[in-house]
């Protein structure tokens, strides 16, 4: 059961990560259009996404079971990416936000901009915990695996 949940949340977090990145990219691009700024000026918003992507690749290549099989990590990542998706979706679709209706873009940029520090906090937090959880005692794990196999 735990393994199935693990797999489910692992796939979900990858899916949510892609959607969250796409949502953020869309809002930031529109924000840049409005202010006539290029995407390079807002590149710092995407750095934590890039860090998370790189860590995912490392986890895959190095087969970091300590992370991939960590249910709590997978659930937390899902929750963090889902929050980003919800905020991006509200900035675009929630027309009860009065500022969204004032500009022709129909996107509440202030609402999303207020969320960017939290976005950084969550993504950098995930990245830091990912790096810290990479360290583990190999012997202990091997014994555990052997017990599980038996």
């Amino acid at each position: 059961m735990k393994k199935i949940l693990n797999k489910l949340f692992y796939v979900l977090q990858l899916l949510f990560l892609i959607i969250a990145f796409a949502g953020t990219l869309y809002v930031i691009l529109q924000m840049g259009n409005r202010l006539e700024k290029s995407i390079v000026d807002n590149i710092q918003v995407f750095i934590p996404f890039v860090v998370i992507f790189i860590l995912h690749v490392i986890n895959l290549i190095a087969n970091q079971k300590n992370i991939k099989d960590n249910l709590f990590y997978n659930i937390t990542a899902c929750l963090a990416f889902l929050t980003i998706i919800v905020v991006a979706a509200r900035a675009v679709f929630d027309h009860n936000l009065v500022l969204a209706n004032i500009t022709d873009y129909k996107i509440d940029f202030t609402y999303f901009a207020n969320f960017i520090p939290f976005l950084n906090l969550m993504l950098y937090g995930l990245a830091i915990s990912n790096v810290l959880l990479m360290f583990h005692v190999k012997e202990k794990k091997k014994i555990k695996e052997q017990i599980e196999e038996l």
Binding site: V86, N96, L97, V98, A100, L121, L132, L133, F135
Partner: protein
């Protein structure tokens, strides 16, 4: 020692993960609550007609009072151009209330925050700026040379106080509050029901402002009618 360090690093990693979990959980549910909160719809009471119909009754009184002056039948001592000027200003303000935009805004059965924002905009642009400032504010200056009427000059200090009160009203605060409805704030059901409800409170505040301006115009039109009838 190495094992201890690794376990310690792991513990820190799990703590950071826990904090991220807490933060994202909190933000996610705060967002759902905020979404629910700002989509509140306010339905005003329709007793004795809609709010717009109540305003129109007062507008009719203002128009009737303004029509009391006729250049052909007037026998008073006031300057004809002053009387005509006041009449046209009263009619211009009455038209601002009869405007199709305001009619559409105030004929709705229920209101969301965006509608109330439009009400504030209309009030600031068409009622305060176009009517009070552009049409009437010069009447508050007793040293003005744009009119000759001594009777108008005698009431101008009172007009100025009334108009300043209208101009210093809380519409700017209401507008900013509506604009800031995208900022999370911590509230619960109790405070929402008893202390503050953005759409309802803003709507009622704005209707109060529309009525206050109409009361001022009606009082002035009553004075005008009295002068026009030679009182």
């Amino acid at each position: 020692m190495k094992k201890f360090l690794v376990e310690y690093i792991n513990l820190i990693g799990k703590t950071v993960l826990g904090l991220v979990f807490g933060l994202s959980f909190f933000l996610l549910f705060l967002n759902f609550y905020h979404y629910k909160e700002i989509r509140t719809v306010y339905t005003p009471s329709q007793e004795n007609g809609t709010d717009y119909e109540k305003l129109l009754r007062q507008v009719d009184v203002i128009k009737q009072n303004a029509a009391a002056y006729s250049q052909n039948t007037y026998q008073g001592n006031e300057d004809v151009f002053d009387m005509l000027g006041m009449q046209s200003k009263l009619n211009a303000c009455a038209q601002a209330y009869e405007n199709e935009t305001l009619k559409n805004l105030l004929s709705k059965e229920s209101y969301v925050a965006e509608d109330v924002y439009e009400l504030v905009n209309y009030y600031q642009n068409s009622i305060l700026n176009d009517c009070i400032v552009l049409q009437f504010y010069s009447f508050g200056d007793s040293t003005s040379t744009t009119y000759k009427s001594e009777r108008l000059r005698s009431i101008s200090p009172f007009l100025k106080v009334e108009m300043d009160n209208l101009l210093n009203s809380s519409t700017g605060y209401v507008k900013n509050n509506l604009k800031n409805n995208d900022i999370y704030y911590f509230s619960n059901e109790d405070s929402k029901n008893t202390v503050f409800e953005l759409t309802k409170d803003s709507y009622q505040e704005m209707m109060g402002q529309y009525k206050s301006t109409l009361n001022f115009l009606e009082t002035f039109s009553n004075w005008y009618k009295n002068v026009a009838q030679g009182g």
